[in-house]
């Protein structure tokens, strides 16, 4: 553990910005505060790269075991209970590091995307908007940095309120419905997490009680107690796994808990959709990787089959739904459900390659989906509708925008050379080669059909929106502005970089930690992964 204050600054700098938003005079100053704060947070977060310098061969970036090497750790007692204290315990490892960078980047770009706030349909309350926006960033960064389960829970809930208002006040026509649906779904999931949180504490043997997520996973006494305990007559592990899973699955979202997502996305303003798709959905996957699998590996094995099946359902069902949409934004929303299915599938098989693929897909989707939502937003700002069938030939009227759009959607589609491909491919390969599961190969084959469906709906959409003859009504559309290109360009660059150099841009930053997590499993790293693991591993 290497102590440091960087994470504290990252987490609470946006809070300071939020307070400033309430007191500075003038709408423009508020916008500036918003953009500068998120920008500064992003720049600060780049400082984390010094710890993950894998290119420096003399450094041992990941340490010897799970939780052995944590960077920028702050650990102070917060609340004293009779057993162990609740701690303010933050730190990053290879699992949270890419997500922290993703969060600060997407939030910064979303703040830039909010710059045309005055032109929105609901354009009052700019102070409130940026204040909540920045509080949301505090919550998100807190979730990814917290290593104390209680703290994790607090930040998880802290995100809810800003999101509710951001959708509910500044959203589209059905904003109230979408906002309350999002709120109730997420809260229902998180209160189940609260039960698991308490059970983890009280089922640990005396003297070992803790909320420390690392210790919960690595302390043999706790693990032994969890392995043998009964919870209301049922096996402890599976019950807790299910409770946590529901909380995380709602966030991912996994079928059948996915119905809040299309509503929330469609009604949310563009920058909020970007954050929802780019970061909030990732928290479900992160929670599974940080909490469920390390602490309850046996239950993970028990649930593997079901989770993989749900992943496959997500992939195919999401893709089929996306194909049926005529609302542009809804289509992108359902494509998110489909893409997150790969994440779940990759996690379910519990192999290093599976985890790598899942995490890669998480980051790749965190880049491509905010880009897609922003692309939709750009069109919506001009046309004020999102009917796919009413568009056509936009590439001709807006060539730069059209090119970026095609790139973004191809990244989402999984075109080789772009980021989406590596994630999906890695998950499919990992699943296919997971020999310890007899069901893995059929699942992989089923999931692979999703790739075809994805190509189908995205190409069809591109054809209807961007290709064809330029329509008269859209001829007057201005080309993408400098601000819009500034938002899109980083996404585009990252999509290409991750697609061409996956190893250097992402795998090397996180594989070490993912391996350590799989090493916690009872029969760690069996056959299937030796191939892929050796290929990738550090």
């Amino acid at each position: 553990m290497e102590p440091g204050n960087l994470l504290n600054w990252l987490i609470f700098l946006p809070t300071i910005g939020a307070v400033l938003c309430l007191i500075v005079p003038g709408a423009r100053a508020v916008k500036l505060i918003g953009v500068i704060t998120t920008g500064a947070t992003f720049v600060l977060s780049l400082g984390l790269f010094q710890h993950f310098a894998w290119w420096d061969a003399t450094r041992d970036v990941f340490g010897s075991g799970y939780g052995q090497k944590l960077y920028e750790v702050t650990k102070v007692t917060w609340i004293q209970l009779s057993g162990a204290p609740i701690e303010y315990f933050v730190g990053v490892d290879g699992l949270s590091f890419p997500l922290v960078i993703l969060t600060t980047l997407v939030t910064f770009l979303a703040a830039l995307a909010s710059w045309n706030f005055e032109h929105w349909k609901v354009s009052r309350g700019i102070r409130g908007y940026f204040c909540l926006f920045l509080l949301l960033e505090t919550g998100m960064l807190g979730v990814f940095c917290a290593l104390d389960f209680f703290l994790f829970y607090i930040f998880w809930e802290v995100m809810l309120l800003p999101m509710y208002f951001l959708i509910g006040v500044w959203g589209g026509p059905r904003k109230e419905y979408a906002a309350i649906k999002f709120f109730i779904y997420t809260l229902a999931g998180s209160v189940l997490m609260l039960v698991a949180l308490l059970a983890f504490y009280f089922y640990a043997p005396a003297g070992h009680q803790t909320f420390d997520l690392i210790r919960l996973a690595t302390d043999p006494a706790i693990q032994a107690a969890f392995g043998s305990a009964l919870f209301l007559g049922l096996k402890f592990g599976p019950v807790m796994f299910v409770l946590l899973y529901i909380g995380f699955a709602i966030k991912v979202p996994v079928f059948p808990f996915h119905t809040w997502l299309p509503d929330a996305h469609v009604e949310a303003p563009t920058p909020i959709s970007m954050i929802l798709a780019g970061i909030l959905l990732k928290m479900g996957a992160y929670g599974l990787l940080r909490i469920s699998y390390p602490i309850l590996p046996d239950a993970g094995t028990w649930a593997a089959w079901g989770l993989a099946l749900l992943g496959v359902i997500n992939i195919i069902y999401g893709a089929l739904c996306a194909m049926a949409q005529t609302d542009f934004k809804r289509l992108v929303a359902y494509s998110s459900i489909s893409h997150m299915g790969y994440v779940l599938l990759g996690l379910a098989i519990m192999t290093p390659a599976g985890f790598q693929g899942a995490m890669f897909q998480v980051i790749a989707h965190g880049i491509s989906s905010p880009m897609c939502f922003f692309l939709v937003g750009v069109i919506y700002d001009r046309a004020h509708h999102r009917e796919i069938n009413r568009f056509g030939g936009l590439w001709l009227t807006m060539p730069v925008y059209g090119s970026l759009a095609t790139l973004g959607f191809f990244a989402s589609l999984g075109l080789p050379g772009l980021c989406g491909f590596i994630g999906e491919f890695w998950v499919l390969i990992a699943t296919f080669s997971a020999e310890q599961w007899s069901w893995a190969q059929p699942m992989a084959i089923l999931a692979a059909t999703g790739v075809v469906l994805t190509a189908g709906y995205i190409l069809w959409m591109i054809q209807r929106v961007y290709l064809g003859k330029a329509r008269e009504e859209y001829k007057s559309f201005p080309e993408a502005t400098a601000r819009e290109i500034a938002v899109l360009a980083p996404f585009a660059a990252l999509a290409i970089a991750l697609g061409i150099l996956p190893q250097q841009t992402l795998f090397n930053f996180m594989n070490g930690t993912l391996h350590q997590i799989t090493n916690l499993f009872p029969a760690a790293g069996t056959t299937a992964l030796t191939v892929a693991g050796a290929l990738l591993g550090r």
Binding site: S82, E157, K175, I180, L194, V195, L198, L232
Partner: protein, 556 residues
């Protein structure tokens, strides 16, 4: 025997232990008598009541160190158990009730001053008799938490209830108020009758009116907890549940809360429940010590747990479809009483580490609940004064019309849901930790944990409905809602405290509650109770009267 009692007078020292009650009685007299000289003036009456309550609060504070060393019985006639108790437990509840009373009177004064300068939208309530009734009901509640004698408890409950009936109808022009009062009286009378029946059964079975003595008897003679005992106890509990507004004695609550003036609703929503809970905790503590575990405490824990789970669920489900904000908050208060009763179920759970965590939870929960409920009702009062209605539509676009009301309201409502980082979460957290601790030995308590968290998710909907109306629904035609500064200060203060309780005061609240509850508990174990019952004869009382009331002589 009767003659003995007649000849017996309480020693002076005992009286000094009850200075707060005496101050309150004096204030009641003053409120009644001053108009004879100064004329009928509601504001003056309010100020006198305020002054008296603050004095009583100070007196209670002065009393606190005197009872630090343990329980002190008082008003114990020779050979009898103490009729009234002054201990940390009652001092805590007295402090809570007086502090809350001060704030309620503050709210009333703000409203009264506000009405003077405005066209009256809602009938002004006031006059000396209003404060006489308010203070008398407070007196009853104080007595409720300070006794184990069944008849004293009955008198206390009636002293708390009878003025409340009249208070509910204190706005004479309000038809709803009259209807509410009638319902309240009917329910109150019925539950009192059941309660008296229970008391008579217990007296017939055990030959004593003192719960401590009953517990001692049960402990000494295993197998005596028979049907008569359980029926008697259940019937007695009906009266207690009525004050808490717990299922199935909760039906009066929504109508009364909706019909009563907001100040009274505020008062009843916290004080009546707090006193009832105090009484419940005392009863379960007395019946909970080791020899009674299997026979009495365990079934009682189940009973309290089931009632708590039902109360909480019914309250939340019924609140979902309410259009009146007062009614919504009424159901919400039923639900919160349910959460707090859950802690009472652990209190007596035999192996839960002595009941400490349960008390901690209730103490912490009550402290938070007082603040967040006062905030929510305070905003409702301010809106009702201006708009004349507590319908959900009165709150439309309040975020724009009166941000200084809407933001505190939102904070208090989210806190009532139990979302971090607000005080309501702190309270719920200590409750859940207590349940979890109890569940180490009694896994069935996990069911209560599940009920509590599922109810949290359920409750979100109706609280957010009000927030939605304030912030999400837009209506530019509606004018701004002006509000008196004193009221805004009150609700803003509540919101700030709620926020602090959820963040910086998270730990201090728990520590404070633990310290309090450690001393609260252990007050009424059977051993100590029986000691009290035996050692209270005149000789000891006389020596106590001379001693400087350190309390050491009593508990020893």
């Amino acid at each position: 025997m009767l003659a003995d009692v007649n000849a017996w007078l309480p020693p002076l020292g005992d009286l000094r232990l009850f200075a707060p009650e005496l101050v309150l009685v004096g204030t009641i007299a003053a409120v009644l008598l001053v108009p004879l000289v100064a004329g009928r003036n509601p504001l003056l009456a309010g100020l006198i009541a305020m002054a008296g309550t603050v004095l009583a609060l100070v007196a209670t504070g002065g009393l606190a160190p005197r009872v630090a060393d343990g329980p002190q019985g008082a008003f114990a006639a020779p050979g009898y158990a103490a009729a009234l108790l002054a201990d940390r437990f009652s001092v805590f509840f007295k402090l809570l009730l007086f502090a809350f009373l001060v704030l309620v009177i503050w709210l009333w004064l703000t409203g009264a001053a506000w009405r003077v300068t405005r066209p009256v939208r809602v009938g002004a309530i006031g006059g000396p008799e209003f404060f006489v009734l308010l203070l008398t009901s407070a007196l009853g509640m104080l007595l409720m938490v300070g006794s184990l004698n069944l008849v004293v408890l009955l008198v206390a409950i009636e002293t708390a209830s009878l003025p409340s009936y009249a208070l509910v109808a204190s706005d004479r022009r309000s038809r709803m108020g009259a209807e509410a009062a009638l319902k309240y009286v009917t329910f109150g009378a019925a539950s009192a009758a059941i309660m008296v029946y229970g008391i008579s059964l217990l007296f017939g079975r055990f030959g004593t009116l003192d719960l401590g003595a009953i517990a001692t008897h049960l402990a000494a003679h295993p197998g005596t907890a028979d049907t008569a005992f359980w029926i008697g106890l259940a019937a007695f509990a009906a009266g207690v549940l009525f004050k808490i507004a717990a299922v199935p004695m909760h039906l009066w609550c929504p109508d009364v809360f909706e019909g009563a003036p907001v100040e009274i609703t505020t008062w009843l929503s916290v004080a009546s429940k707090a006193a009832g809970l105090g009484l419940l905790l005392r009863v379960v503590t007395v019946l909970g010590p080791a020899p009674l575990h299997v026979e009495v405490a365990t079934p009682l824990a189940w009973g309290v747990g089931v009632v708590a789970a039902l109360t909480c669920t019914v309250g939340n489900l019924a609140a979902l479809r309410q259009e009146s904000v007062k009614r919504t908050l009424a159901y919400s208060s039923i639900a919160h009483a349910g959460y707090m009763m859950m802690a009472a179920a652990i209190t007596l759970s035999p192996t839960a580490g002595g009941g400490g965590p349960g008390f901690t939870a209730v103490v912490a929960y009550l402290m938070v609940y007082v603040v967040m409920n006062l905030g929510a009702f305070g905003v409702t009062a301010l809106v009702v004064w201006q708009t004349g209605s507590d319908h959900l539509s009165s709150f439309t676009a309040l975020g724009r019309r009166a941000p200084w009301l809407a933001v505190p309201m939102a904070v208090c409502l989210f806190s009532l849901v139990g979302l971090p980082p607000l005080g309501g979460f702190t309270a719920k957290w200590y409750l859940l930790v207590a349940l979890g601790k109890g569940a180490v030995a009694q896994p069935w308590l996990w069911i209560l944990v599940a009920v509590a968290v599922i109810n949290t998710a359920l409750s979100l909907y109706y609280y957010v409905r009000i927030i939605r109306q304030m912030f999400l629904v837009e209506n530019d035609a509606l004018p701004a809602v002006p509000a008196p500064l004193g009221g805004v200060a009150l609700v803003t203060g509540c919101a700030i405290v709620v926020l602090l309780l959820g963040t910086l005061w998270f730990n201090p609240l728990g520590e404070r509650a633990t310290i309090l509850s450690e001393r609260l508990f252990g007050l009424a174990t059977t051993a100590e109770r029986s000691q009290l019952a035996m050692v209270a004869p005149a000789a000891d009382s006389a020596s106590r009267a001379e001693s400087p009331l350190t309390g050491a002589g009593v508990s020893g």
